[in-house]
Symmetry: C2
Subunit: 196 residues, 2 copies
DNA sequence: AATTTAATTGAGCAATGGCTCAATGAGTCA
DNA sequence: TGACTCATTGAGCCATTGCTCAATTAAATT
């Protein structure tokens, strides 16, 4: 009876989980307290009893990306396989939701301290995971890179820029093209002559 | 007397010019009709008499970037000089305002048709101006590129991504570092071995 | 001067959205 | 059973913001 309308867990937990779901559906900026309380099956007052919206929002955002750094290089995955998956997943349709959340966070960060802190933590972890992967590939002889950390930063930034173009509806950009450009950069980084 | 408070021009002109100024100061999202009418020294009703806010905002935005495409390659400028200026200006402090406007527009575009159209026009012009510059540099023997249009797109996207990192307050990114990465990409595009 | 037309005003409307707070319900302890 | 605590509710507050509209002023026309 009580779980027809209300998911399991205490009010506080339900609100947090609902916030995560709302973020995934609506993005950071369109998400509202009312959507969260509605989805949690809870009065509007309860959210404000437990949380302050900007803090809850940032916490839910961080929860969405919590596992991402560890997922850059999965257990027993070769560097080459991980990089191939990196390229394949970068602009996959399933990634759109995450890109929107990511870019929303970059936009909000200058005016939203909780978001800024969360973004900083996740970004640092993601980037060092990628740099580690690139360095491992050098160690294992899969590829050569003069400066894996710098390459990680460029791959990161180019992926960010390409995803931004896709999300902004650039007619000259789509997932396939974006992937080709990202792969072209990696090839150049590894010393293969300039890409087309 | 009448130009102590009110700048010259008709109400319509004054409002448009004020809109441009407000955009430059506040960015696209923080800009409000009241700031514009205040700055124009005009009643709030007049703005709505002449314009619809989303349309005015997009028109003012486009006016800000109107001259940018032609400025990629100035008259009597060699390709090399133009590219050097491109790199130097990309992340200069003066460019911050424009970056904010640009990224705001990318964010608004999916939900704001007037902005989407303006962004599309300017982006197309900017990108083809850059591609033309790169192709000219190949013709003149300043550099070699297998596919100048693809290189233009990557330079564009990487610059976008790097600027996004700076604006979002990434502690690992600043104007100098960003410029180095952008130059590293260009060097690789031209066939110089992978950059550090 | 009289009339018409256009420019201009700003108080206020309507919708939005985070948050308050007095009230209610439910569980616990003596 | 009464007293106390904590969870929960939701109508409504309050500030924001694009926009309306009846009223006013100024300019042009006859």
């Amino acid at each position: 009876m009580s779980d027809v309308k209300k998911p399991r867990g205490s009010g506080r937990e339900r609100i947090f989980r609902a916030a995560v779901e709302v973020l995934m559906e609506s993005g950071l900026e369109a998400a509202q307290t009312r959507s969260v309380t509605e989805r949690a099956g809870v009065g509007t007052g309860l959210l404000n009893h437990y949380f302050r919206w900007p803090v809850l929002r940032a916490a839910a955002w961080e929860a969405v990306f919590e596992d991402a750094p560890a997922d850059i290089r999965r257990a027993d995955e070769t560097p080459r396989a991980a990089i191939e998956r990196f390229m394949a997943e970068a602009f996959a349709p399933e990634a759109r939701l995450y890109w929107r959340l990511w870019i929303d966070a970059e936009r909000l960060a200058p005016h939203d301290p909780p978001i800024a802190e969360a973004l900083d933590r996740i970004r640092t972890q993601l980037r060092s995971a990628l740099a580690r992967l690139l360095a491992d590939g050098v160690s294992s002889g899969d590829w050569q890179l003069p400066d894996p950390a710098a390459t990680a930063l460029r791959l990161d930034a180019l992926r960010d820029g390409l995803a931004g173009l896709i999300l902004a509806g650039d007619p000259a950009m789509n997932a396939d093209t974006a992937r080709q450009h990202l792969e072209a950069l990696f090839a150049m980084e590894c010393g293969v002559a300039g890409g087309g």
